[in-house]
């Protein structure tokens, strides 16, 4: 783990991979260390904002480096996944099949067979970056992002899968759509898939 400077109120921790980020983020979000005010897990890093009156960056980084991550990752892997029902009729499904050199059915099969976990949220409230997808389905973002992607769109880009929580601009490739509500302020936990959540996609027919 490497600690990079981020002003005097935060430190950016760089970890080996998305799995290590997920494990450390789970530990930090479970019980925020003394003086820590905000934790922002991302693809390879965790940004930790702290109260400089209570803790220093180097002291904090030292303490976090000592956390043993192996026992933390296991329970998350074993948890029952949240199942997201998807109608696989996305606008980019055929392009993804072509890029991955697969049939459309094989893309759906691989996307539903994988076991995902939310690595982090970002971009919009409740937009969860899901890791653990099939490496064969790693496709680049669109060259030109769409001005409007409908809420509930199920999409992939790079190593991630995601569901757009609200209609927004977006450059990910659309595989399908779901009625699952990613973000609902009426729920005690508004994000359906907070960091660490186990997730699986399930193919359903339109209108089902």
């Amino acid at each position: 783990m490497r600690a990079l400077p981020y002003g005097d109120r935060a430190v950016l921790l760089e970890l080996a991979d998305a799995e290590a980020v997920a494990a450390l983020a789970a530990a930090l979000l479970d019980g925020r260390p003394d003086g820590v005010e905000e934790i922002v897990p991302a693809a390879r890093t965790i940004l930790v904002r702290f109260d400089p009156r209570r803790v220093t960056a180097s002291h904090l980084a030292e303490r976090l480096a000592r956390i043993n991550l192996a026992p933390i990752a296991e329970p998350a892997r074993a948890a029952d996944p949240v199942v997201i029902p998807v109608v696989y009729d996305g606008a980019d499904l055929e392009d993804v099949a072509r890029l991955a050199d697969l049939s459309v059915d094989a893309v759906v099969q691989r996307h539903t067979a994988a076991r995902y976990r939310c690595g982090f949220c970002g971009f919009a409230p409740g937009f969860s970056y899901l890791i653990g997808g099939d490496p064969v389905l790693r496709v680049p973002r669109l060259d030109e992002p769409r001005a409007q992607v409908p809420a509930g769109s199920v999409a992939i880009a790079g190593e991630f899968s995601a569901v757009y929580p609200v209609a927004s601009p977006g450059g990910w490739r659309l595989l399908g759509r779901t009625d699952a509500r990613m973000w609902d302020l009426a729920r005690a936990s508004p994000a359906l898939l907070p960091p660490g959540t186990a997730v699986r996609f399930e193919a359903i027919r339109a209108g089902a």
Partner: protein, 285 residues
């Protein structure tokens, strides 16, 4: 109850924001200058977390449904109060009778002002805050003429006996301190020196999400793509076109371009006041 009659270039409700939810993709929000908004609250005896109105380029007009004590801080505007005409102090509490129409002119310098009402604006609370998040669309809608705002009870004591409290002097050139950021090695070292030497111009598409600067581009040193990483208000990001963006209170929680410096909280106060066309000078803190 306050009735909004006019909003000028725009106005939102802001308190201290909603920290602690960045891991769910929720931006911090809150007053762009928490110091100035906090001063307005203290001037009317409010608690620190009371919601204020953040006003862009003056132009706000409100009618008081009942007698109220208010205070204005930030970029000074001419204050009109009809029909009584009483109490015209910037940076001081004014107690005005029911029916008063309070209206603001445009500030000569600066951009943002804050109006506190004793008791605070009682907008609905979302994730612990009454702030409008202009990026994630959380919290109350930006104010519109016709909006009716109830007054709350976020009071922390009596109205202090104070005639005037000076705000920070506003100048044509904003001098902004910058602390080290994590990705200086992603940009060309020679090119990065321009961060300190260039008189950067504020672009018109600047807002609460970020202050966008114009000037000679800062070149990337790598062709690779940086995986998304956490972003905080004050972070200075260098997008592919090389023109820095300094993130504001409604910054996204993650971003995919290198962050080369971070403006500390105190520096955000100066950035809250820059207008399109103004000059920003960055200096190492």
């Amino acid at each position: 109850m306050i009735e909004v009659l006019a909003v000028g270039a725009g106005a939102t409700i802001q308190d201290l924001g909603r920290p602690g939810f960045a891991a769910l993709g929720v931006t911090r929000s809150g007053a762009f200058d928490v110091g100035a908004a906090g001063l307005a609250n203290r001037l009317v005896g409010n608690s620190a977390g009371a919601a204020t109105i953040e006003i862009v380029l003056g132009g706000l007009a409100i009618r008081l449904g009942h007698a109220a004590t208010v205070a204005l801080t930030g970029a000074p505007c001419v204050i009109g109060s009809e029909p009584s005409g009483g109490g015209r102090g910037w940076g001081a509490a004014m107690t005005l009778p029911a029916g008063t129409v309070l209206s603001l002119g445009q500030p000569r310098r600066g951009l943002r002002s804050w109006l506190a009402v004793r008791g605070g604006i009682d907008a609905p609370v979302t994730l612990g805050s009454r702030s409008t998040d202009t990026l994630g669309r959380l919290g109350p809608e930006p104010l519109r003429p016709g909006a009716r705002l109830p007054i709350g009870s976020d009071i922390d004591g009596d109205v202090p006996g104070l005639d005037y409290s000076p705000g920070a002097a506003l100048t044509d050139v904003a001098a902004v301190p910058v602390q080290p950021g994590p990705r200086t090695d992603w940009v060309d070292a020679e090119s990065l020196r321009q961060l300190w030497t260039v008189a950067w111009t504020v672009r018109p598409d600047s807002d609460r999400v970020g202050i966008r600067l114009d000037g000679p581009g800062i070149a990337w040193a790598r062709a690779a793509e940086l995986p998304s990483e956490g972003v905080l208000p004050g972070a200075i990001q260098i997008p592919p076109d090389g023109r820095p963006i300094i993130f504001g209170p409604d910054a996204p929680t993650t971003g995919g371009y290198p962050v080369v410096g971070v403006v500390p909280a105190a520096g955000l106060a100066a950035l809250a006041q820059v207008r399109p066309g103004d000059t920003v000078r960055l200096r190492p803190a």
